[in-house]
Symmetry: C2
């Protein structure tokens, strides 16, 4: 039943074979930006488009990480850095598994994002800066957290009482404060096509 020529003691299924099976490459799309800039919305919209093209995808964000893998971490600087480290390691494993991984975390510190980049093979970390002004993000204030941060009820709130270190050489900048969601999605898909991650039929 089993193939006689398999070396059983080692892993025989690798990323390359999984990518071949999937019909697309795997990669980590690292969305970064202020709270309210639209990282999670954009990541999920890109995921929907990719899924419709039969791609294997997964979005890592606060919803599924903070209650799970990082449930024993707080929101001080040290714990936020460890959170990003764990997200990076989880993303690496999923990428190895053949998945296009989309992460949506503020990830405000340049050094932390670079550490994740260095964790991955060259070219497998695509940093996507969701660029929207603090004014725009604060005006949206979807969860009412900017208001509470301004009132001093939340410490370490990025943009208010904690810094956001903008990417210096991101693979893509998406002006989420100005572009429509549709155009934002299209720009990410163009990047994936240019990088050879997915074949993009039609007018992409």
């Amino acid at each position: 039943m089993t193939s006689p020529n398999i070396v059983w003691h080692h892993a025989t299924v690798n990323r390359e074979r999984r990518e071949k099976l999937n019909g697309h490459k795997s990669v980590v799309l690292w969305f970064t930006g202020l709270s309210g800039a639209g990282k999670s919305t954009l990541a999920h919209a890109v995921e929907e488009e990719l899924h419709q093209r039969n791609c294997r995808t997964f979005v890592l964000d606060g919803d599924n990480v903070r209650h799970g893998l990082s449930s024993n971490l707080g929101f001080g600087e040290t714990d936020r850095r460890e959170n990003i480290r764990r997200v990076g390691e989880a993303a690496k494993l999923m990428m190895e598994a053949g998945v296009i991984v989309l992460t949506a975390f503020i990830s405000p510190y340049r050094a932390d994002r670079e550490a994740v980049r260095n964790l991955l093979p060259h070219g497998d970390f695509l940093e996507i800066w969701c660029r929207a002004s603090l004014e725009v993000c604060e005006a949206r204030d979807v969860k009412g957290l900017y208001k509470r941060a301004r009132a001093g009820e939340i410490k370490n709130y990025t943009g208010i009482n904690s810094p956001y270190e903008a990417p210096e050489k991101p693979e893509l900048v998406v002006d989420t404060g100005e572009l429509s969601l549709e155009d934002s999605v299209a720009s990410v898909l163009r990047l994936l096509k240019e990088r050879g991650i997915v074949a993009a039929p039609g007018n992409l």
Copy 2:
């Protein structure tokens, strides 16, 4: 370009859609047993078989977790438990991503394995006990670690100076000390067929 009826603010791609795309269900196969019982060998052999059936698979083991996600953990009881917790959370995420996840860790404590079981939806955690006697495992001593543990050079070595709590109600027991690898793989595949995880054509 994008579908107009998508609710962008939430995740639209879920486990069910991924499973449909993949043509099989996702699950966590939790291999547990003494060092040298053959957990990793069996997990990789099962993975090879599943990959040849076009299944999406991934093996989490010490090789890819201890140098990554758990690189800041040691081997004392507290850290070993946190290691298993992180593996469980990572496995949960990958299962959500549509992957058949195979984990190969000694995971000696019953409470830790039950904690992972309780993390997952009912029926998605399949505990597979790789049962081999300490005598057999110690005689194999692939990495020479039993010898070092007997000499007192390694603390907390399961089976020597740290307990292994055998599963009480595992979904499957594989007598890896007696069965051939081929028969061991077949028994795991039978379980997957019985549980409706994969369609098993032919003589499985």
